[in-house]
Symmetry: C2
Subunit: 404 residues, 2 copies
């Protein structure tokens, strides 16, 4: 049911990065559910993680290992989030890192663990260990598509994208990223799981700064259902096997732009594959006093079940948009200068329905699978864009049946 989204046919390999995947039947058999990424010794790594106060065991361990600054591998499992699992979860995450380190000839501290899936159940550790132990033999520089599939849960489509940046002097930098996620999506810092790897040679502080810029307009600007996961993480790795780039380099803006663009494609792919999504909706807020205000309005509209069900129905019931904007946490907010448009059909101008508004025009916009809801607050110059999807029967079905 994903909205205008298909799995990538090809992802560019990245020199210095290899994936191995395997099946541990974590939640159900018949699919790969473990993926292991090995990076060359020159690699730098940056990451952003969930702001959920109850971060899962693997998130806390990944943060610790990342801080130690020696990362050489990422271990990802789907099917079980290892969240809400207490002291046992902490120990299990560590055991997985140890096993991955052993098969790769590394220290456990050099492995970042990631888990996604059901919350509150212990990992099936024995099955996972048996699987992980064999992965060192199966590393493959062309393993990106397999890895993209192995990390999915309720995703209906595997998600990945590549970019090539010309950094001058005949040098090119390649970036490839994969992501998973379709529900519990309202990243508060990073998102679900996303892994972006480039062959660039970049200092870790520069990579971290580029990643944070890229996040703001990608994973931090999407919402499926307003629920923030305990396991969100987005990791950027630079293998250093290719050309150098850094904050003082002329190609830096191009690199950051490519990273942002790639992250945005992955983030939008998560929304397009949002649980039960039938529409991909861009919320474009303008005329705000500041960006925080614009984002607050955007997310209030994006999280409104009434707006989302109207989008599902293709019903231009714009009063629901107006009501959602009106309850956004914005100070001294008056309706008088607010405008609302669906693509180029302006419905409300200066707080009043336009005399020439014809509902059929708005219905025509909402019949499409993708459109923009434009909201101008008429009180400033700041703007924000957020991507979301509708709320359908299918969302309820998926989440009422998720564990059965």
């Amino acid at each position: 049911m994903a909205v205008n989204l298909s799995a990538p046919a090809h992802l560019e390999p990245i020199a210095g990065a290899e994936w191995a995947v395997g099946e541990a039947a974590i939640n159900k058999p018949g699919r790969n559910d473990i993926a292991l990424l090995k990076l060359v010794e020159s690699a730098t790594v940056a990451g952003v993680f969930t702001r959920n106060a109850f971060a899962a065991a693997p998130v806390r361990r990944a943060q610790k290992h990342l801080a130690a600054g020696r990362v050489r591998a990422l271990l990802v499992n789907s099917g079980n989030a290892n969240a809400g699992t207490g002291a046992r979860g902490d120990a299990d995450a560590q055991t997985c890192c140890e096993d991955a380190a052993r098969t790769l000839g590394l220290d456990a501290e050099q492995v970042l663990p990631f888990s996604t899936g059901v919350i509150g159940q212990p990992l099936p550790l024995a099955r996972m260990q048996a699987c992980i132990n064999g992965l060192g033999e199966r590393l493959d520089g062309n393993g990106w598509l397999d890895a993209a599939g192995a990390i999915t849960t309720t995703d209906t489509v595997a998600k990945g994208a590549s970019r090539v940046v010309d950094v001058g002097g005949g040098d090119k930098i390649t970036l490839t990223g994969i992501a998973k996620g379709s529900g519990m999506i309202r990243p508060d810092m990073a998102t679900m799981l996303a892994f972006i790897v480039t062959d660039a040679r970049i200092a870790d502080t520069d990579l971290d700064s580029a990643l944070r810029v890229a996040m703001a307009d990608s994973f931090n600007a999407i919402s499926v259902d307003g629920d923030t996961s305990t396991n969100d993480a987005c990791i950027a790795c630079a293998t250093g096997a290719g050309a150098a780039v850094g904050r003082d380099h002329a190609a830096w803006p191009r690199f950051v732009a490519a990273l942002t663009d790639l992250a945005r494609e992955l983030a939008q792919a998560i929304v397009r594959d949002g649980e039960g999504a039938t529409r991909f909706i861009t919320l474009q807020i303008s005329g705000a006093r500041n960006v925080d205000e614009a984002r607050a309005v955007a997310f209030t509209v994006a999280h409104s079940p009434l707006v989302k069900t109207a989008c599902f129905a293709g019903d231009p019931n714009w009063g629901r948009i107006l009501a959602a904007v009106g309850r956004a946490p914005v100070d001294d907010f008056a309706i008088d200068h607010v405008s609302i448009a669906l693509d180029d059909v302006t419905i409300v101008a200066d707080g009043q329905p336009r005399a020439d508004y014809a509902e059929a025009d708005a219905a025509a916009v909402m019949a499409a699978s993708e459109y923009t809801i434009g909201i101008d607050l008429g009180r400033g110059a700041a703007a924000a864009t957020v991507w979301t999807c509708d709320l359908s029967y299918e969302y309820v079905r998926i989440n009422a049946e998720y564990r059965s």
Copy 2:
């Protein structure tokens, strides 16, 4: 589909208060959709209104008329909210007040107008005027049940309740209230429409203070879908036809308690009749540092689509509760002292799943149509209770088809 809720069989009449209802075919024919309440001259009135920045035309007019301090009548229509209707909406609300005043022999300023229903469409004014003009002839002290029906929209059950308070010396005070609402329910100050009338003789400032106390633990403690209406209002009227009561009176606490209890029954009725609701859920938060924090956690859980769909499925997927608690806006929040229970089945204690937790026990609780989710934050002594319902296919159906 309302959860353990049936329409009241009888509502106590209130001396000094009479209702008339009529059909204006505002949204669809075949039902009463206008109700007019006339109060005796001695009446005092207090009200609380939506905090939505885009309050509807009738809300703004009602606030203005209430401030003038001469209120003698309430005019309510269902089927159309007269919200997002610009200058025309303002004029229409005023016209309705003038017509109601004419049929009752009052001034327009003595009438408070209320509208509920579809947002963004002009009122069918001519039909409404024709209906209102005849209402003065049809006032009836026993018209409460008819009024409760006339103000409904997507409600499946009319809502009303009565209380009698013994104020000593052989005197009794009677209170009767009616309410409507089942979607766009997350009152931020008052709620949907609720009208409570008592025969007590109370100063308007005392009535206002009692109403605000009653709100906190009733209409301001419920949520169906997190959407705050542009038209929420709760009005308390005291006709003065019965015994006197006031802030310095020994019976004051009993009066406030009865008003709160009545308001809570009406508020809970709205949740029980929440759009598509199949479960009535009490969220009991304890161990918070302050009440704001407890309420923030309660509403974050109440608004989580993932928690709500798990409740619909009767699936004790408590990790979703944990994840929702973890993303609540609470400072320095650690999982270590958090406990989660379903009725008397404790699932998580001190941040960890209990060793003796059996999922079948939790599933048995969630199979019932009513239960309590208890969340102890383990960091203070403050508590809050919020009532909510689940998210079902039916919610999506109702809101995807509302206008068709």
